[in-house]
């Protein structure tokens, strides 16, 4: 059973999905739930320059334009992260981390919620392409970041979709375990 994560208790979530529709439903649920709580929602995607992909996401977010204008929702293009991940280069990820932390500071200073929900799909694409070593490396970095944030009481939830059509296969059981081990929580997306 799928369960949404309460952003007041930040997590690093592995979101397993069977189909693209299930992924879409779950991802947009995380985003809309965050917006409903006045949290900042960030969709950081390697597909952010794909108009069709983004339109599917945005069409399921109520008051999309208002939330963008008010700085409550950010669609971030992390296409360059994928090639950098293949090279074992975490520099853009570290810059993104610094940006997330700065946004929290800014929001708290402005009297807004200091919570962020980030859906990030670079590791998703590494899984899809069976680049498991690189995937574990990135997810380990996200987990280290999550633990650092937890220690500083920074409420940043990171949701990382992963395809169960790949990771659910018996021959990738070890890889699935290694990736899952780099998260604080694993949930399964539901088709609605």
């Amino acid at each position: 059973m799928s369960k949404q994560v309460n952003s007041s208790s930040a997590r690093h979530v592995m979101l397993l999905y069977e189909t693209d529709d299930a992924r879409l439903e779950s991802v947009t649920s995380y985003i809309t739930d965050a917006l409903a709580k006045d949290d900042l929602a960030v969709y950081a995607s390697v597909h952010a320059d794909n108009a069709l992909h983004i339109s599917k996401i945005t069409s399921k977010i109520a008051n999309y334009n208002v939330n963008i204008e008010q700085g409550n929702l950010l669609i971030l293009n992390i296409k360059n992260f994928y090639s950098r991940a293949l090279a074992g280069d975490l520099e853009p990820f570290k810059d993104l981390k610094a940006f997330l932390e700065e946004m929290i500071r800014e929001r708290i200073a402005a009297g807004k919620s200091g919570r962020i929900v980030v859906v990030a799909d670079c590791a998703d694409n590494l899984s899809k392409n069976k680049r498991f070593e690189e995937c574990v490396y990135i997810e380990r970095w996200w987990q280290d970041s999550y633990l650092e944030w937890s220690g500083k009481e920074l409420k940043i939830t990171v949701v990382c979709p992963h395809p169960s059509v790949i990771l659910g296969k018996e021959r990738y059981a070890q890889e699935k375990h290694q990736i899952s081990h780099q998260h604080s929580l694993t949930v399964t997306a539901l088709d609605r």
């Binding site: 971030l76 520099e91 853009p92 570290k94 810059d95 993104l96 800014e106």
Partner: protein
Amino acid sequence: MVVDDDVDVLQTIKKYLVNNGFNVHAFSDGQSAYEHFRYFPKEHSLILTDIRMSGMSGFELARKANLVNPDVKIVLMTGFLIQMTEMAKVLPSIKVDGIIVKPITTTKLNELMQKHLLLDDNMEVIK
């Protein structure tokens, strides 16, 4: 002014800009850059700063520099793609005149200088 705690990047950018006729002050940390800027706020047309540095971040440097001299142009170096309009919405307290995505290339530096310092293709000031 160029600010980056990666000394190799800092020196490479400085060298390129100096070779193209610019007067460049380079700092490897935000605090030192800010201390200098505070005393010489009119000396710099543009601050090019990395966002992620130990101590004072590029974000904080931009914020503080803008308070000292609102006319200085500020360009952030980031590792991810983001439009200025997007950044303005999520970080409204920081006035940013440009964003340059790493890795920094001479092409990007030329475009930056031409755009923000009104230079022509020969890197001469447009009169």
